[in-house]
Amino acid sequence: MTRLLRQAWTIAAKDLRTELRNKESISAALSFTLVVILLFSFAFDPVGNPDVREQAGGLLWIIYLFSGILLLNRTFSREAANDCLEALVASPMSGAALFLGKAVSSCLLLLVLELASLPLFGVFYAVTWTNDFGMLLLVLVLGSWGFTVIGTLFSAVTANNRLRELMLPLLVFPMTLPALLACVELTSLILLGEPLGDSVAWLKLLFGFDVIFTLLGAVLLEVVLLA
């Protein structure tokens, strides 16, 4: 177990270092996020139309999903140069470690993007996102992890596909629907400052989703790569 976690962190650290050095996907995803926040605020006018604020959670997660796809597209295509994916497959590292490492790096980048864009979202949508920041952070972490584990697996499936930029969202979005519904419901309540009440069930669903797909991805990645 220790070995698996150490190897997973080796992969994650390598990916984060590479990304911080060339800033290829994070800069594109962050720019996209900020532009869409601006465009949505002009389109829906949440300051003048308070009803729109009730949909803030949905808008926020749609933005994060599309930005996340920009990050996830690079997860395995980053390994294409110099056939580095072969080096990983040929190494004694398990598929589970590779999967976890890739998912951790993508999730951390997505969280950075989410936290960096929240203040701007708060201003343009007139919502107080600091109301229950602890719970909001929990939802962001669980939602982002659920999204990235699905995205990491399908990023491996589409890594050698010429249409991977198109294929990845087509495969990932339907699969993440249960997690997305939970995130939207929970985030909307938190942003409106309302108690979670019965909606705690969504939190349990989100947690269960993360556990199931993390295990599934860890088991399936090696099969996907060798196929």
Partner: protein
């Protein structure tokens, strides 16, 4: 001849309907340098990739050290130089080797990394990113990456590509040293002169079939360009 380090038993590999490797039976002796030779498309790379665990045989069996090849068990004992260089362009020479050292659980990794960077003559460029190196320098770093974890089996596919004369000599001496340290080296190359100089055994494949398997001879070394005619 020593016991087989690698044995291929009736191995077939199909790509779609096309048989790239056909009924290949080959024993690769341990502690030797075996040259896997053949013309373009003969199936040399496919054989090396199957031994490395990058491809699964469609039929037949590969034994490593007498046991059926098991990726988890044998991956750490194999080092490979493939067609791709398996290096990260945005990382420095040191960072690349340190990354692979961690993947292979190399003990005293920092010392080993610095040792191999010196061995392949890249010390001056240790903190340069790989995308700033020439192709030949990258190839030298690739060789260091393959040797870093002291693999018992070294698989090299066209290792002399892009190397200048000095680097070719360096590689030959590294391979001879690996042999003297009881490593098994399998080299596939079109550079017949360099390959035949160091090889102890030859295996020649033609259209996926093994057509020659035996010890290297002085007559091959003296006139490498006639090799395929002599064998046929």
């Amino acid at each position: 001849m020593s016991a087989s380090a690698i044995a291929l038993r009736d191995v077939w590999k199909f790509f779609g309907e096309f048989p790239a490797v056909r009924a290949l039976n080959l024993d690769i002796p341990s502690k030797g340098i075996i040259a896997l030779l053949g013309r373009n498309g003969a199936g040399k790379t496919t054989v090396l990739r199957m031994i490395a665990g990058l491809l699964r045989p469609s039929r037949g069996e590969i034994l490593i050290g007498g046991a059926p090849a098991d990726h988890e068990q044998h991956a750490a004992s194999i080092g490979m130089v493939g067609h791709g260089q398996w290096l990260y362009d945005d990382l420095t020479c040191r960072e690349n080797l340190a990354f692979f050292a961690r993947l292979y659980d190399v003990p005293s990794a920092t010392e080993k990394v610095d040792h191999w960077i010196r061995e392949v003559g890249l010390w001056t460029f240790r903190d340069s990113r790989v995308n700033q190196l020439s192709r030949g320098m990258r190839q030298r770093l690739t060789i260091a990456r393959a040797l870093l974890h002291s693999p018992a089996i070294l698989l090299l596919d066209e290792p002399w590509t892009s190397l200048d004369d000095r680097a070719m000599d360096l590689l030959s001496s590294l391979l001879l040293r690996a042999q003297s340290e009881n490593h098994t080296v399998v080299v596939s190359s079109h550079q017949l002169k360099e390959t035949l100089q160091i090889a102890t055994h030859l295996a020649v494949v033609d259209r996926g079939r093994l057509v020659f398997n035996g010890p290297n001879r002085d007559e091959f070394r003296q006139s490498p360009h006639d090799l395929y005619q002599r064998i046929s």
